[in-house]
């Protein structure tokens, strides 16, 4: 068993605070260290999840956080994997711990975001698909989310009211989370009254971009026991698989899918394969879960995740939602944190924040959001350029 222990979890509240990502990351790191009962000087390795929006310090996030906390000689690593950056940072830390390269590893991700749509890096870059989709098509991220949503409506009969129900559910959970940016319950009427951004999705169907920071202290099980954590939350799987050719599902930032003329697509599309790899590594399945945190970049996308992580069959996501299965108090609550709907995306911090929520739920310290008797949870996310991740944690 390749379990590692989560002995510290900490976050800086999400919002639009107008400060440097470094301040959010170090605040989260200090909270995680205090939670673990360790001093910063006990940390042998720092893994930072990079941000592309904050200049050079963002590209070397591991070193930036280590310097801000006070150089103490720890190994530093910086990783970038779009929305999966935080999970890859966790995966890197796990590899270092299991290889015996470090006893205790601090994982940190933080971002400071501008207003409006995510835009590509500047300059004239016709070789960059991310630049091209904006130049040629004006295809923003919400445009892709809307294409998926419309496809679900045509294929499965999902309705805008189903999508709104996801927002209502997640806002209700977020209202109970002091770390969330949006803490007000939202009604279906309010979703329906918000402006259409990309038909059929409205403003309240689409997640915002936020400032925020999240951190974890990870270590081996022996180290955890020696430092006062006899029964820690354990990370049992970190899946960071890549897609297989041909990718038949349209994905950001691509202008076309791979052609299937040479080869049939694999039976499971990319998002589903991310979760399957995590289940296989963890030796458990969707039937063993107490909760899940999935990447609800849009309301409709949360329904796709239900199917991709195996909570239901293809096309059955909306029914699972309508049945109340995935709300707090349901048989398998999804996005107990409030999800991206309540947080807004702080890219390099988000996948780490998902694991923070699992940690608190599995410890039984999630307060008003607590899933009674939570024993196992999965996180799932997907980012640009073939990145995705799923983390399974158990207690």
């Amino acid at each position: 068993m390749n379990d590692i222990a989560v002995i510290g979890a900490g976050m800086h509240p999400w919002g639009k605070w107008g400060r440097s990502f470094v301040s959010y990351g170090t605040a989260a790191a200090r909270a995680a260290l205090a939670d673990a009962g360790l001093d910063w000087t006990d940390i042998g390795s720092v893994v930072g999840a990079d941000t592309m929006r904050c200049g050079y310090p963002g590209y070397v996030a591991g070193a930036t956080f280590a310097q801000a906390l006070g150089w103490q000689g720890a190994r530093v690593t910086s990783v970038y994997a779009a929305c999966a950056s935080g999970a890859q940072a966790i995966g890197t830390a796990r590899a270092q711990i299991l290889a015996g390269l470090a006893d205790a590893v601090l994982v940190v991700g933080a971002d400071s975001t501008p207003k409006g749509f995510f835009a590509p890096a500047g300059g004239e870059r016709p070789d960059d698909p991310d630049w091209l989709r904006f130049r040629i098509l004006g295809a923003t991220n919400p445009a892709y989310f809307a294409l998926y949503a419309r496809r679900r409506m045509a294929l499965y009969g999902d309705t805008p009211e189903d999508f709104a129900r996801v927002k209502v559910k997640n806002a209700a959970a977020g209202a109970l989370n002091p770390l969330a940016r949006y803490r007000k319950p939202v009604t279906a009427e309010e979703v329906a009254a918000s402006a259409v951004v990309a038909d059929p999705l409205r403003l309240l169907d689409i997640c915002a971009t936020s400032d925020g920071g999240a951190a974890l202290v990870l270590c081996g099980l022996d180290f955890a026991r020696r430092h006062g954590h006899p029964d820690p939350v354990r990370i049992r799987a970190v899946s960071t698989v890549s897609p297989t050719y041909p990718r038949a599902a349209l994905d950001l930032p691509d202008i076309a899918t791979d052609s299937t003329t040479a080869l049939d697509p694999a039976p499971h599309a990319f998002r589903a394969s991310i979760a399957r790899a995590a289940y296989e590594e963890a030796g458990l399945g969707p039937e063993d879960l107490s909760l899940a945190e999935v990447y609800d970049l849009s309301t409709a996308l949360e329904l796709e995740w239900y199917e991709d992580i195996g909570l239901c069959g293809p096309g059955e996501g909306a029914k699972l939602l309508r049945d109340g299965t995935t709300r707090l108090g349901g048989a398998l609550p999804v996005n107990t944190s409030g999800g991206l709907a309540s947080f807004g995306e702080a890219v390099p911090a988000q996948a780490i924040a998902q694991v923070c929520e699992l940690t608190w739920q599995l410890r039984g310290t999630a307060g008003d959001r607590q899933v009674p008797g939570a024993r196992a949870g999965i996180t799932a996310n997907q980012g640009l350029f073939g990145h995705g991740s799923a983390v399974v944690a158990v207690r």
Partner: protein, 157 residues
Amino acid sequence: MARTRRPVVTGWFTDDTVPEGAFRLLGTRCSACAAVFFPREDDACRNPVCPGGGALGEVPLSPRGRVWSYTDGRYRPPAPYVSDPDAPWEPYTLVAVELAAEGMVVLGQAAPGVRTSDLRVGQEVEVVPGVLNEDAEHVWTTWHWRPVAPERTEERA
């Protein structure tokens, strides 16, 4: 001064030397494994189990396909999308089109005047030449998807 017509990206579609009816998106095809690439791949085949030894040659893509999905942009996208910040924003329609012969979905803007209310998933559309934007020196050309006129669909049925 007359503005020069230039494709917004080189080599992705036929130029003005062909008549409008012969306008096509251009991809490449691997001679060893038959994989088709759009946007064109000119360096090497990306099929991981391609036997190798082939060459990538230019191929026109099917001129018609069926709507996989569609949406619109109600807000002005950020640069490098070009729009006049002083003019009121005119939403554009975006269409994802499934090409049966190539087994792929290709995005594009819809022809001017086509609204989301004019589209449905599964509907037949065709590729047509279009203009993305104009500036002082250039008319930047692109491809658009346009619903196939109903009578022409019937002729084919």
